[in-house]
């Protein structure tokens, strides 16, 4: 379900971060390319792909749905937090987060995260943190469909805000 989201997706280029959510396939080459800056010498890229089998079951596809009004704002918070933590005293760090919604099949990329920083250590560390926080906080859900039937994949919750 992608209620309210047009087929071209929603993109937010702020500063020079590149944040995107939509139903089109993720253009992997574009993810890191958007973070061009000659002062940023380290670029780390993570791609999350749909896995099959998963938990011993052959996966036909995943159906992703999201709360689109909240996804880009949450991505922006993740980028700002990474800049504060890993951007050094001058806060030089750029983040790209692309997440696909709708039907995604095994082998296809569902999420891409790239971080450009002055040096490799900051880029790699920040990329890992953004990936983990994206999985923990982006309001996105996946229904896994395969040999075992259809089930919502168990997820994560932000502590302190749970009913």
């Amino acid at each position: 379900m992608t209620q309210g989201l047009d087929v071209d997706g929603a993109r937010l280029e702020r500063g020079r971060d590149d944040l995107w959510v939509g139903t089109e396939p993720i253009d992997v080459a574009r993810v890191a390319a958007a973070l061009e800056d000659e002062s940023l010498g380290g670029v780390a890229l993570f791609l999350g792909r749909v896995r099959s089998p998963n938990d011993g079951q052959v996966v036909s596809h995943l159906d992703y749905e999201g709360y689109d009004a909240m996804i880009l704002a949450t991505m922006a918070s993740l980028a700002d937090e990474a800049r504060t933590a890993y951007g050094g005293t001058d806060g030089r760090l750029l983040v790209a987060i692309h997440h696909r919604l709708g039907r995604v099949r095994p082998g296809e990329v569902s999420m891409a995260v790239a971080v450009a920083a002055a040096h490799r250590a900051a880029a790699l560390a920040a990329c890992a943190v953004v990936v983990e926080e994206a999985k923990r906080r982006l309001p996105i859900w996946k229904l896994e469909v395969g040999d075992g039937g259809a089930r919502y994949v168990a997820g994560a919750a932000v502590a302190g805000e749970v009913l």
Binding site: M1, Q3, A69, M70, S110, K135, L138, W141, A154
Partner: protein
């Protein structure tokens, strides 16, 4: 006051709808809104779900005002 509650994933499936309009007493909280949804749709189990008010994560104790949009978010599984 009138508020809208948005439901996602398993909660939407259990309710059979993605948007619920509620009339709540002044001073009601996000938790009150969740309880009202459960009253209307007893098969909806909100335990473990997170709350957002106007598209930002919020504590269940957050007070609501006219026109607010409350979202009940099951544990998320993006990536």
């Amino acid at each position: 006051m009138r508020v809208t509650v948005k439901l996602f994933a398993g909660l939407r499936q259990a309710a059979g709808t993605s948007d619920v309009t509620l009339d709540l007493a002044d001073g009601a909280t996000a938790l009150d809104a969740a309880a009202a949804v459960v009253d209307r749709y007893p098969t909806v189990d909100v335990r473990g779900a997170m709350v957002a008010v106007n598209a930002s994560y919020a504590k269940p104790s957050t007070s609501l005002t006219e026109g607010d949009v409350v979202a009940l978010l099951p544990p998320v599984s993006g990536g």
